[in-house]
């Protein structure tokens, strides 16, 4: 069997790991619901109903981020807890293909885990029965690509679960609070604005907002692809580095 044909097998394995605990998917959806129907709804009451719709996609993208980091955590657990890494590396699949398959598997997991959330946001934005629904899934997929890459990079270097959790928290803080989920980039001090403008979350949010305003998502997605591909490449390189150790 050629290496290319093995890619779906690796992805299938990663997706099966996600479904091995369907409770986990339910909990992630519950997490999304709390973010949307408590936090976003409260800020909608405090600021205005249009604000609820403005920040709503943030709840789904935060869930995508959590799901993406679960992929990195699984890879970390394979290495340090389950002692599976050595076995996986003896499989007849080139390392590069294996690394790319793991990243693709992570993206698939994130898109699946956020599937109900993406539908809810699409419903709120009135695109549930429109072809633009596909664009919503593309945004989640491209955004997840970068975060899966980051989480795999962290899993390669974190020697303890505390280090992994700390770096994960720092990245989550950066993505959540130093982005345009809650406020416009102009509200930030000038020195912080470049950080906000290079944040993948900012462009994923812009893309979702373009869906709401019936605008084109091409520009924000084109920008989002940049950091996502860079982070995915970083994740692949770190994974290859760690398999050599």
């Amino acid at each position: 069997m050629s290496a290319i044909h093995l890619i779906p097998r690796v992805i299938e394995r990663d997706v099966k790991i996600l479904f091995s605990d369907s409770f986990l998917i339910g909990i992630m959806f519950a997490n999304f619901c709390i973010d949307l129907f408590v936090t976003a709804a409260t800020f909608g009451n405090l600021i205005g109903s249009s604000y609820f719709l403005r920040i709503a996609p943030g709840s789904n993208l935060i869930t995508a981020m959590v799901a993406a980091f679960q992929s990195g955590r699984d890879i970390w657990r394979e290495k340090y807890i389950k002692d599976l890494a050595s076995y996986l590396l003896t499989l007849p699949i080139p390392r590069k293909v294996f690394a790319l398959s793991r990243i693709t598997g992570g993206v698939a997991r994130s898109v699946i885990a956020t599937f109900p959330g993406t539908l809810v946001i699409s419903y709120l934005y009135g695109i549930l029965f429109s072809p633009r629904l596909i664009e919503a899934f593309v945004i989640v997929g491209v955004f997840s690509l970068g975060i899966v890459g980051l989480s795999i990079a962290v899993s390669a270097f974190a020697s303890t679960v505390e280090v992994f959790a700390t770096v994960r928290s720092a990245i989550q803080l950066y993505l959540s609070f130093l982005s345009t989920i809650f406020y416009d980039v102009s509200l930030f001090p000038a020195i912080v604005q470049p950080i906000v403008q290079t944040n993948p979350m900012t462009w994923a949010m812009q893309a979702f907002r373009a869906l709401q305003s019936q605008g084109s998502t091409l520009y924000p997605i084109a920008i989002l692809v940049g950091p996502s591909l860079a982070f995915a490449l970083l994740g692949a390189l770190c994974y290859l580095w760690y398999t050599k150790l």
């Binding site: 605990d21 997490n31 800020f43 009451n45 600021i47």
Partner: protein
Amino acid sequence: MARRDIATLFRTPWIIISRSLAFIIQLFVFAYLMSGLITSYHGFFGYYAVGSVVATVASISFIIGYDIFEEAEEGLLDYLLTLPIPRREFIIGRALGGAIRAMIYTIPMFVIVAVLENFANPLSLLAAFLDMSLLAFGVTGLSITVAVSVRSANRFDVVLALLELAVSRASTALYPFNYLPGYVQAIAPYSPVTFAADSARAALTGFSLDVLGVAGLVAFVAIFLGLGATFYFRRLEGGVYA
């Protein structure tokens, strides 16, 4: 046992770094920027500042559950159980350690908020501190209960994160009651974080004692510290970790 748990937290600076960073960003970035957007509620920054300390106490108190789960998973619990310490003292020590370290850890944040908001009355500060201590004890018990009830590592991680999110968000710690959605208003008054947040705010801003809040906190502590201790004791004696 309590001293060991306190030392464990301070030996793992990563947790302290991540939670401190979260507090600083939430207060000085999120709350600051949001208070500029929120015009319908006067003094949102001050409201959020007190609430974020209360939410952090709850968040740190949850960590004892992670420690207990990891000890079981890594086999360290077997060693701990061979120590010449009675089981009951072992469990009480864990609960005490989890709560005390949460309070030690939160003191600098409480000081920052007190300075920012000009809370200077020693009695008010003491009352708010006691409210948060009660919350810490109760959440420690809740966290231990979850740690000994959930078996899968991934599931445990997400359940505890969800629980942490739920008790903080479905409360008046971070958002004023009148602005919560109706379905959250129905449950928020019964949240232990609401008891602690309302009681601490009453002490700090109104110089008064929220008797209902304190009573709610005491009941929460009694229930979950008792439940946590009972579940943990049963697991240990039942040989589940062997």
